[in-house]
Structure formats: C-alpha cells, structure tokens
Amino acid sequence: MQKKQITIIIGAIGLLLLLLVVGCAQKQEAGGFGDAPAKVYVAPGSYDEFYAFMSGGFSGQVSVYGLPSGRLFRVIPVFSQDPEKGYGYSEETKPLMMTSHGFIPWDDAHHPQLSVTDGQTDGRWLFINGNNTPRIARIDLTTFETVETIEIPNSGGNHGSPYLTPNTEYVVASTRFSVPIPQKDVPISSYKENFKGTISYIKVDSATGRMNLAFQILVPGINYDLSRAGKGPSHGWSFFSSYNSEQANTQLEVNASQNDKDFIAAVNWKLAEELVAQGKGQAWPANYFHNYMDAADVGKSETMNSVTILNAKEHPGLVYYIPTPKSPHGCDVDPSGEYIVAGGKLAALIPVHSFSKFKTAIENKEFDGEFDGIPIVKYESVLAGEVKEPGLGPLHTEFDGQGFGYTSMFLSSEIVKWKLGTWEVVDRIPTYYSIGHLMIPGGDTKQPYGKYVVALNKITKDRYLPTGPELTQSAQLIDITGDKMKLLLDFPTIGEPHYAQACPTTLIKDKSKRWYPIEENHNPFAIKAEGEARVERDGKTVHVYMSTIRTHFAPDNIEGIKVGDKVYFHVTNLEQDWDVPHGFSVFGANNSELLVMPGQTRTILWEPKQAGVIPFYCTDFCSALHQEMQGWIRVSS
C-alpha cells in the first residue's frame, strides 16, 4: 500500500516537473522570434519573393499564396464547382468535371506539380491529381484557370500523382487502391488472386500542355502511394513507394503493417516508351474522359475507349522492387538524382537508396526473389545509408541544394534536417502539429531555390482562435538560411494542404494575362460589339447574346421569355481593361452566378418557373455606377 502511495507521489512530482519544462519551452518559443517579423513583412504595395501553390486537399482546389508573407492571393477551383466564379456551373466549364461516372462536382486534390524543363521549374503549368475519382488536372499559369482534366482508367484512386518527369515529358498516375483490372464482380477476399495495380504515364504536349494517356503498366496488386521521377543519372526512371505488400483486404491498419519491409517500385519509363513504340503494348478496352478548354475557350469532353497496357511481368527490366522498411510513404529523389529517400511511416530510421548501387545490383543480379513476377533487388545492395534516430513517422523529404535533406516527421511533429552522404541529423524544429508534406521552393528540382521550408500541418488545436470543432489547417514558414532552422510565421490554409510547390515570382508574374483580347474570342456565342446583342429563340430554347461593359448590360430589358423555356445567357464581357470582370446573376437561379473576365464569354442556363418580372444584376463592383448595372426579364406563362 505504502509503495503504491510513494509511486503516486513520485509520479505527481514528475508530472509537475514535466509541466514546468513544457511551460518554459513555450515561453522561450514565444519570446524567441527575434527578426522574424522583418523577414516576413512585405510592405504594402510590394511583392512577395515566391508564388506558393498549395493543394486544398478535400476542398478540391488549389490556393495561391505569397512567400514569405503568407498572404492568400487566389483560390483556383480545380475539381470542385465554385459558384463564386461560375466554375463547373457555366456551360463552358461544366465539361471539365465530366468522368465515365458522369458529372462529378468534387475531388480530393493532393499534389500540385509545377511544370519543369531540364529538371527546373519553368512556370508554365501546374498539374494536380484528383485522388478519389482518378484524375489529373492542368492549370494554365498565365490565367490561373483550370484548362484540362483527364480521367485515369484502371485505377482505384490516384494518390501517387502527378509527379513529373524532368522535362514534363509525362505526368504519372498510380493506383492507391488495387482493384480488379478490368473491373469485375468478385469476392473482396479474392484480393491476391484478382486485384491488380496500374502505373500510368500521361504524355504532355510540350507546346500546348495537352495531356494524352500514353500507356499503363500493369503491376502486382498492392497500394502504390507516392512517386518521384529520376533526374540526372537516374533520368528515364521513376520511383513509386508502396504498402500493403501483405495484400490484406481488411483491417489494413493492422494487416498491412505486418511485413518488415514493403517496396519502392523502380520503373524504367524510357524502356516502356521503347516497348510501346515497338508495338509490345496491348490495346485494352477502357472508358475514360478527356476534357479540355478548346481554342475557343469552350470546354470539350472526349470519351476515350482504349488504352495501351504493358504487363510488367512480361517485360524483364521494366519494373523492379526495392525493399523499403515499414510501409513507405514519401519517395523523394535528391537534386543530383543519385539518392532516393524513403519515408517509412512506422520506421525508426530513414533509408536512402543509391541509384548507382541499384544499377550495379541489377547488373550483378543481386536479387532477393520475386514478388508476383517482379524481381526484388537486395536491400543491402541498394542501400546508400540510413538516417538513424531521426524522430518518429518520417513522411516526406525535400532538399535545399546545399547538401541537406529535410524530412517531415508526422508522429514526433517536427522537421529534421540531415546531411546527404553522412546521414547525420544536424538540426530539428517542432511543427504545430502533425506535419504531413513539407516544401522548399524548388525542393524537388535539380537546383532548389532553398531559403525557406514550409511545413504543411494536419492539426492546429490551440494555434489559432477556435472556430468550433473544425479548425483550420495550417502552414508554417521556417527560415533555413542559417545552421539552425527558425520558425518565422504561421498562416492558415484553404482545406487541407497536402503537398505544395513554390517558385520565384519572376517565372510567372510578367506572363500573367490581364485580359482576353476580344478579337481572339472564338466562343461561338460571343458577340464582339454591343450592337450584336440580341435574343434568339429556337423552340423552347432561348439564346440571349448579352454584352457587358461599364456600366450596363445589353440587352437589359428582355421580354418574350416563357415559363418552361431553357434560357441560355451567353455573356460576353467587352471590357479590354485590367481587373474589370463583370458578374451576372439572375434572381432565383438554381445554379450560380457568372464571373466573366474581360474579353471572355461565359454561358449560364436559367429555367424560369413562374410568370413575372425577374431582375438580374452585376455582382462584381465594376465602376462608380455598378449599382445601376441591372436589368429585367419578363417571364410570361
């Protein structure tokens, strides 16, 4: 009895001491910001140094921030409808949301990727994956608008995507969930027998950016997670982390965590290209959508019905498995292209593979058996080194170009800085809390810009004012110019930020479009001058060719509309001036407003349900007489 009491007392004292230590640590942090305010202060009217593009996660959007200020500039809707912009509601943009499952107004957007040339950011396009219904989208960085989406067939979830090859030759996709391929009605417990995975290469046209699913590699049925392409010496390869080599179909939390090692799949995409060119691929029937804004800035949907498949088992040298501890997540290639860093979610170390050792191991046939027909390269033969005791739950690694790797630690909620080559940990900094991805501007390219690392956190708890049960996710800006990392700034993010990318503003700023030249507007329903404004009836369909210019609509009195009509408002913004969009909204419309950029045409459908006189107006404060920018529609029964 006495012993127990003593234990309790000692325990209580211990707890008090712990609280004291934590309290002191927090106090230190609060008082220790030094020159941080000056480092993140971007004076009014001045510009940031970097554009940062952050995934919105389950918001299906991309948000655009400035670094180092952490100021939000824009939210780009990608997979999610956005009534504010009319995105996914206007007739022009609706096709971008089409899939073989019909119109899907949402997805889970994870990994933004800036286009690259020779392994360096070129500021042309931003790609991002849709995880839930496998898709990849492309955003044009002159307009910051989504201009293309492509559905990925034969995939059960597109997580390891859209990681680019060094010249944006391809964006990749890999199935997070293996499923029967092609799909069929089988017992879920027949996983090992029936489930397969695919790794897809989508060719990107170097001039237009247009995507085209070039081929898919059929691979054993496990979960493919994240990817990076090789560069420099490893150019021509890409690497995909995987888990569930147990091929469990239930209770994955436990059952997929049994094996000591899972795999990184190394894919020789140059060889795949050759095999396809030699006609070694098989044409499989498929059903997927390719949607894009055409030359007239009108969305088009194409249904595709075939895909070229390469079965990995049938082509020696195409795919190898590199054993990697504990359900690896991140799979990051260093700037030199020699090292592949894996983040084993449950591992107590960070294994780093060597590409040159991998090549030698293949030459010397140092294999450790096969997994479902794919050769497994010996772990020891490929391993360059291990970062020992880095912390708990390593996930992702980015590089500063100065010979250091920075790895996010989900469980111990910190970033760990370590040296490439010696694998020693040199610094660590806490994150608040539970960091997922991290991002250094250009940190995945041949020549990182360095300067900052951004922590992208899943949980914020007490970091901000509470907003009910759902709290903001957050980013944290950390200075990496010195030997010690220094926290500079916390800022909230849109949705859940997964990955992010950043580049110097010079790559994008001066190419940013100010308006669409009206003479280049080839929308079939566009009008080039106010005099062309008119109403045309075709049976029960009515086309209103409408113009907007400060500060009026033409026409602004519309009569002859009947209950039951389908009224298409084709609104052309005749402005040719910077930052003068006009809005268009109709009383009682069941969809959204339109926000029409200068020189652009956008169309919204309205179906009047009762007789009367219905007002419409401009929603975007456009001039001193914005309030006067309105009109009426007479609806007769």
Partner: protein, 231 residues
C-alpha cells in the same frame, strides 16, 4: 573656311562673285554657309526621320486606378495608346463624360503630317545643298510655321473633344467642367491628372529646329564679321 570657293557647288560659285565691288555697293555679299554648317543642317534635316519611329506628343493620364499607366501617343501618322489597349480604355472612360470616341482613322491630320514632315526634311536638305543662308532662314520660318500650325491644330482638336460633349447621354455631368487636355503641362480632369508633353519624336523635332536656329545665328555673325572685314 577660307577654301570655300573650291567647292564645286554652283550655288557657292555664284556666291563668290567675280565682281565683288559692284555687288558690295548694291547689297551685302553672299557669304555661303560653311561646309560644317551645311553638314549640320543636313543632319538636322535627316534627324527628323526619327519622328517616324517615335511619338511626337504624349498625353499621360494619371489616376489611382491605373498604376500600370494609361495614355495616348500622337505619332506623325497615327494615334495610339501608350500601352496595348489604352485607346480602348480611354474611349470607354470617355463615354461617362459624353466625349466623342477617338478614332485615329478619322483624324485626317495623321495622313497629312507625314507629307509635311517630308517636305520640311527635303527643304532642309536643299538648304544644305545650296549652302544659302537665306534659304536656311526660310527653312526655319517654314519649320516654325508648320509646328505652330500643328500645335494650334492639336489645341483645336483637344478643344473640340473636351468641350463638344454629348451632354444628353453623358453619365457624369459637372457644371462648367470641360475636359480639354492641356496643350503642354498638366491639368486635373476629375480623377485623372492629364500630363501633355512632347514625345521623343517631338523632342527630336525641337532639337532639329534649335540646331538649325543656332547654325543660322552663327552663320549670321560670321557673315557680318566677314562683311565688316571686307569693308
């Protein structure tokens, strides 16, 4: 300078008259322009070619909403925005005050001015070729006249645009307010500050005239000295 008479130019030959005494008595002797002056005049005339490559005049419109700049350029043969799309923006803004649309194709001066400029250039070259100081004076007077007429025309154009407003359809009506841009200098027009100044082409023309004037002045003084010395 003393070897001017070796020049092959007949005009110069004519200048060095074989009967100096008789001429002297009736009128001052013709002292031809020096070779250097003639070269300078030719250069000044040829310099005017720059007016084909740079705007003669610029009207800049300064307002808080236009940090990117907004303005008009008047060229020898065209009128255009300082930046792409400016003319369109200005016309759109002008509809608020009932100002006429600026349509460069309907401004006839823009088709006449190139010819006038060519004539001025040609005349300058004639001056250089003949080397006659009186011709230089004529050239300068013509130059001045043409420029003056141009500015008057510009003023009248601005007056017309600034005053003849379609008040029936104007959205913004400020009693007593007109919107004539200044001929030169700056003026506040509602939220805009209009700044009117010569463009590069205009400065070149002014420079050409000033050079011509200086040459004439120097030659005038040189000739007077020669005449004094001769008498």
């Amino acid at each position: 300078m003393k070897h001017d008479s070796t020049n092959e130019d007949p005009a110069v030959q004519a200048g060095s008259s074989p009967q100096p005494n008789r001429t002297k008595r009736t009128r001052q002797p013709r002292v031809p322009l020096s070779l250097l002056s003639r070269i300078v005049i030719a250069a000044a005339a040829l310099m005017l070619a720059f007016t084909y490559f740079f705007p003669l005049w610029e009207i800049t419109l300064d307002a808080p909403q236009y940090p990117e700049g907004l303005g008009l350029e008047i060229w020898i043969n065209q009128m255009q925005g300082q930046n792409q799309g400016d003319l369109n923006k200005i016309n759109n803004l002008n509809h608020y005050i009932g100002m006429k649309q600026i349509k460069p194709e309907s401004i006839k001066e823009l088709s006449i001015m190139p010819w006038i400029m060519r004539a001025v250039m040609l005349l300058g070259l004639v001056v250089a070729a003949t080397g006659r100081r009186s011709f230089l004076l004529v050239w300068l007077l013509v130059f001045l006249l043409v420029s003056g007429a141009g500015l008057v025309d510009f003023y009248l154009w601005g007056y017309d645009y600034g005053h003849n407003l379609d008040t029936a359809h104007a959205i913004i009506k400020v009693p007593g307010m007109s919107y004539q841009p200044p001929l030169i200098g700056s003026k506040k027009l509602l939220n805009f500050k209009a700044i009117s100044l010569p463009g590069i082409g205009g400065w070149v023309a002014i420079g050409s005239f000033v050079i011509g004037g200086l040459v004439w002045l120097m030659e005038f003084r040189r000739a007077r000295k020669q005449v004094i010395r001769a008498t």
